[in-house]
């Protein structure tokens, strides 16, 4: 008989069969040999010799059989797994509500976690695209008032020469320019960098080289340029032939020597090309405009590097009048570029996503627990029918695995949808966010989590089942069993987590409301902004005042334009200009005691065009300084500065101020205006002074245009008016001022929306948890409820009893959560503006929302319970 696949093996029988087979073989051979005339005994010997060692062959066959047996066992295991899987799938299909809830819950948790890990990884965790970025620091000067400030050329050169705990120090700056050729003329940002800039950062150029030391000689930078990857592609089609060609910047030819990758934009922003800086020790020490980056020498502690810089800055402060009272500081480059607020927000979001995932896990394990308890009878029955404990456990395990896998897959899809949404939410304002993509390793981690969840979820119910002996299942009814206690504790934990998320969101929401409601002190409605660039190479500084006046006149003549003015600070672009002033009648001897202020050049039309209110006196009149070139320059100050220097705005009008230091020029205050907030929404603005652009003819100005109705035709009219009034100037980009204000709100809105959606998810999960628990317990107690009802208990009393238990549970959860939230809100503090972490409104709103939803989640199943027909319940089992 041939063995059927799957029939039991009988090694001894098979061996005997083999022996018989081999004997038959020999007998046939002997028959042949004897028929050929050989003697039977000799024939036997010959046949055995031809056949070979039968004992060895037996061993070989036994090995073949054993190998086949092993393969058979694997096949059996796979068959069993297939059976388990399809059984699990059938079981899950039979409980669609349970399955859908469990999969959705877990998928939401996994999706949120993967999305956030992907985003935070791109923005915060991904190392900067530099060589050993942790050794790079931003080196700044610090004003006598303690504000960070850019660095002057001489100070930078002294740092570069004298600092020994740094492998190198390099400087960078940028300003607007016009690229005239090749291609259409366009406004570009021209960067300036000292030699060694690229190697110090460790940036790999895409082509060519960086600057040679001889191209960066003091005061005489060579006419060479390194292009950005984008400009290289746009103007040279990304061809290597670009090297050696020239580009025309403001009428001067620059030879292209290299191309840097666009990833450098994390440091140099929108810069289009970089030319040598040519820093000179002869430059004015009062001209601070350089960003300086240093690379700390290997093995040098940041503290020591800082110390050395501070000692050098102290020497500079003692030695040079212009540096009196100044000091210096270093910040890790990463912190400076990505921003402590963003880094912190990243960690908070990670924590929130982790909490959410935890909640989802808790919920699913709760659901599985509940299911395991209701299935205790089924399991008991199966155990009684002879299913091994191992087999039952494995089946529970497989069910959990199927759930986790389905949830992992769905979660991956959710993450793939969420990441682009998050990307567009924070576009343009959060560094590197545009690089965010679903992270394969995060996806891998999610699948790992799903597997982990399997272990967790598979075993918890398994433990319950294990403790359930058949005798108990007949009579086990809810109440104080260990399963119930665990479930209640889990739901309580969920409520607590939910409170943490809701309170966090409440606080961020209040802060956001505060920021978006902050008075900026100028009008944005109906205002357009256009950036103009009037570089030295194209216009001598003495021509700029008249040039800008001409542009303003041309724009004012465009139909629909109400008012035109210009300011050096494009609102919320981050640019801030700083200096110092004092009252002429109270000049301190030490420049360090002057009042630190923000200032900006504006044209006379600015105040009316931007809608800045006049508090006292009057703003600039056209050309009014030129009538008396020897006398003090006219300035306008804001209410804050007036409050610091004078008792009363009226007193300020006509007063004389001193600019910069005791020997500085004299200024006459013509008027006081309302304070404006155009640098940052979240930080209090410095006291501000306005100076006439004609007097300080800044090259990069932003035109502010007040229009009646903004239309594309009007925008086009403005662009044409500008190019008509300034030959050779590229047509500027024109954008509503609202957009700039909106840009300033991007980061807070991003934080709010992401944490807010987490809170909504969290609340949802907590409600699902509480509802599920209540519905389950009510079901378990149908019998008890039925008896009570039939004995005449009033339904309201029973409802009350069930709800009261939930209220206790919820109250403990809320109390726990409130404690956690209070501790956790410390993390949020730096992201809050205008509210404290104790903000009563945020707390009250969060706790109320939670209490009300929790109440509903408990009341609904309780109500259902009391609608039960007692007879039906009592007959149920």
């Amino acid at each position: 008989m041939s063995r059927l696949p799957g029939t039991p093996r009988d090694p001894a029988g098979e061996d005997a069969e083999l022996w018989e087979e081999m004997e038959a073989h020999l007998a046939h051979r002997v028959d042949d040999l004897v028929a050929g005339g050989m003697a039977p005994a000799e024939a036997r010997r010959t046949a055995e010799a031809e056949f070979g060692d039968r004992a060895r062959i037996r061993r070989e066959v036994a090995r073949v059989r054993a190998a086949g047996h092993r393969r058979g066992r694997v096949r059996e295991a796979l068959d069993a797994l297939r059976q388990d899987l399809s059984f699990a799938a059938r079981q899950l299909r039979r409980a669609p509500a349970f399955t859908a809830t469990a999969v959705t819950t877990l998928a939401l948790g996994i999706g949120a976690a993967v999305a956030i890990v992907s985003v935070v990884r791109a923005v915060v965790l991904e190392p900067l695209p530099f060589h050993e970025p942790e050794r790079l620091v931003v080196m700044e000067m610090v004003t006598p008032a303690g504000a960070d400030f850019s660095v002057s050329e001489p100070a930078f050169l002294e740092w570069r020469e004298q600092l020994e705990r740094y492998d190198g120090v390099t400087a960078f700056s940028g300003r607007g320019a016009t690229l005239r050729a090749p291609g259409e003329p366009a406004s570009v940002i021209r960067g300036y960098a000292s030699a060694g800039f690229f190697p110090l950062l460790g940036v790999n150029l895409l082509a060519g080289r960086g600057f040679l030391p001889e191209e960066d000689l003091p005061g005489s930078a060579a006419a060479v340029a390194v292009l950005s990857e984008s400009l290289w592609r746009a103007r040279f089609g990304g061809s290597p032939e670009a090297l050696g060609k020239t580009v025309d910047l403001d009428g001067f030819a620059f030879r292209v020597v290299g191309v840097y990758p666009d990833e450098l934009s994390v440091l140099v922003g929108e810069t289009d090309l970089i030319t040598p800086l040519g820093a000179s020790p002869a430059m004015d020490r009062g001209e601070h405009y350089l960003d300086v980056v240093g690379r700390m020498a290997g093995g040098v502690a940041p503290g020591l590097a800082r110390e050395e810089l501070q000692e050098l800055a102290a020497w500079q402060s003692r030695t040079f009048e212009a540096d009196r009272g100044w000091s210096a500081r270093i910040t890790p480059l990463e912190e400076d570029l990505i921003g402590t607020a963003t880094i912190r927000a990243g960690w908070i979001l990670l924590a929130a996503a982790g909490l959410l995932l935890l909640m989802a896990c808790v919920n699913v394990s709760n659901l599985l627990l509940a299911r395991a308890t209701t299935r205790a009878r089924e399991m008991g029955l199966r155990a009684a029918l002879g299913a091994g404990t191992g087999r039952i456990l494995r089946q529970l395990f497989t069910e959990a695995a199927v759930l986790a896998l389905a949830a992992g897959g769905t979660g991956a899809v959710l993450a793939a949808l969420a990441v682009p949404a998050i990307r567009s939410l924070g576009a343009g304002r959060i560094p590197r966010l545009s690089d965010a993509a679903v992270d394969p390793s995060a996806l891998g981690a999610a699948l790992g989590l799903a597997a982990l969840a399997t272990l967790l979820f598979g075993w918890v119910p398994a433990l319950v089942v294990r403790r359930t002996r058949l005798v108990e299942t007949g009579g086990a009814r809810g109440g104080g069993s260990p399963g119930t206690r665990i479930r209640r504790a889990l739901v309580m934990a969920q409520i607590a987590v939910s409170v943490v998320l809701l309170v966090g969101t409440g606080l961020l929401f209040r802060s956001f409301l505060h920021l978006s409601g902050v008075g900026v002190g100028f009008e944005t409605e109906g205002r357009l902004a256009a950036s103009l660039s009037m570089p030295d190479q194209s216009w001598h500084w003495t021509e700029r005042g008249a040039l800008l006046a001409g542009i303003e006149a041309a724009v004012a003549a465009v139909p629909g334009v109400e008012a035109v003015g210009a300011t050096a600070v494009d609102p919320f672009s981050g640019l801030a200009l700083a200096n110092f002033v004092a009252r002429n009648d109270r000049v301190p001897e030490d420049a360090a005691l002057f009042t630190p202020i923000g200032w900006r050049p504006v044209t006379p039309g600015f105040f009316r065009a931007a809608g800045v209110e006049v508090v006292a006196g009057e703003t600039f009149r056209d050309m009014d300084w030129s009538h008396d070139p020897q006398g003090p320059s006219p300035v306008v100050i804001d209410r804050r500065l007036s409050e610091i220097l004078f008792d009363d705005p009226a007193e300020a009008v006509g007063a004389i101020l001193v600019w910069g230091d005791p020997q500085g020029s004299r200024l006459r205050v013509t008027g006081v205006v309302e304070a404006v907030r155009d640098v940052s929404l979240s930080e209090d603005p410095s006291p501000l002074m306005y100076r006439l652009h004609q007097e300080i003819p800044w090259a990069a100005m932003t035109l502010v245009v007040h229009t009646r109705v903004a239309s594309p035709a009007l925008v086009q009219g403005i662009r044409e008016a500008v190019t008509a009034a300034a030959a050779g100037m590229p047509a500027p980009e024109v954008a509503p001022l609202d957009a700039s204000l909106d840009r300033a709100l991007t980061q807070p809105r991003f934080n709010l929306l992401v944490l807010g959606s987490f809170a909504v998810l969290g609340l949802l999960l907590a409600v699902v948890g509480l509802y599920g628990l209540t519905a389950f317990e009510v079901r378990q107690r149908f019998r008890e409820i039925g008896i009570r009802l039939s004995l005449g208990a009033r339904p309201e009393a029973i409802r009350g009893m069930i709800v009261r238990e939930r209220v206790k549970l919820t109250a403990v959860g809320i109390a726990l959560g409130a404690g956690l939230a209070w501790a956790g809100s410390r993390l949020l503090e730096s992201l809050l503006h205008g509210v404290t972490r104790a903000d009563p409104l945020a707390w009250a709103a969060a706790l109320t929302v939670l209490a009300v939803t929790a109440g509903l989640a408990a009341w609904l199943p309780a109500r259902r319970a009391t609608r039960v027909d007692p007879r039906e319940v009592l007959n149920a089992d």
Partner: protein, 112 residues
């Protein structure tokens, strides 16, 4: 003509090939391989049995006891449908293998 030892793994293929002509018992298979290869291929007859068991584990052949032409009890093997398919694909890849090795050897001869 010199006699050659069998390359490892080719015995299975030869067994399948001899069974393609119809059911045979072990001794018949051994004779058939010798005859078909014009006595060139040397098979230690006993080695046939591990091969038969290997093929049976793969479910390429199945065996059943019967009575031989000599009136002796013997186990007759025949190809299963899976075995027939396996013979086809194994024979194909063997042909490719032989062709490839042949090409390499000829190329070497030309070069030297």
């Amino acid at each position: 003509m010199t006699r050659m030892d069998l390359l490892q793994g080719t015995l299975d293929l030869l067994v399948l090939r001899t069974l393609a002509g119809g059911p045979k018992h072990g001794y018949q298979i051994a004779r058939a391989i010798k005859a078909l290869s014009s006595e060139v291929l040397q098979v230690e007859e006993g080695a046939l049995y591990p091969a038969l068991h290997r093929l049976r584990e793969k479910r390429w052949i199945q065996g059943d006891w019967g009575i031989s032409e000599n009136n002796r009890r013997a186990k007759f093997y025949e190809l299963t449908p899976a075995g027939r398919e396996a013979l086809r694909s194994e024979a194909e890849s063997w042909a490719r293998y032989v062709q490839a090795v042949g090409q390499v050897l000829e190329a070497r001869e030309e070069a030297s």
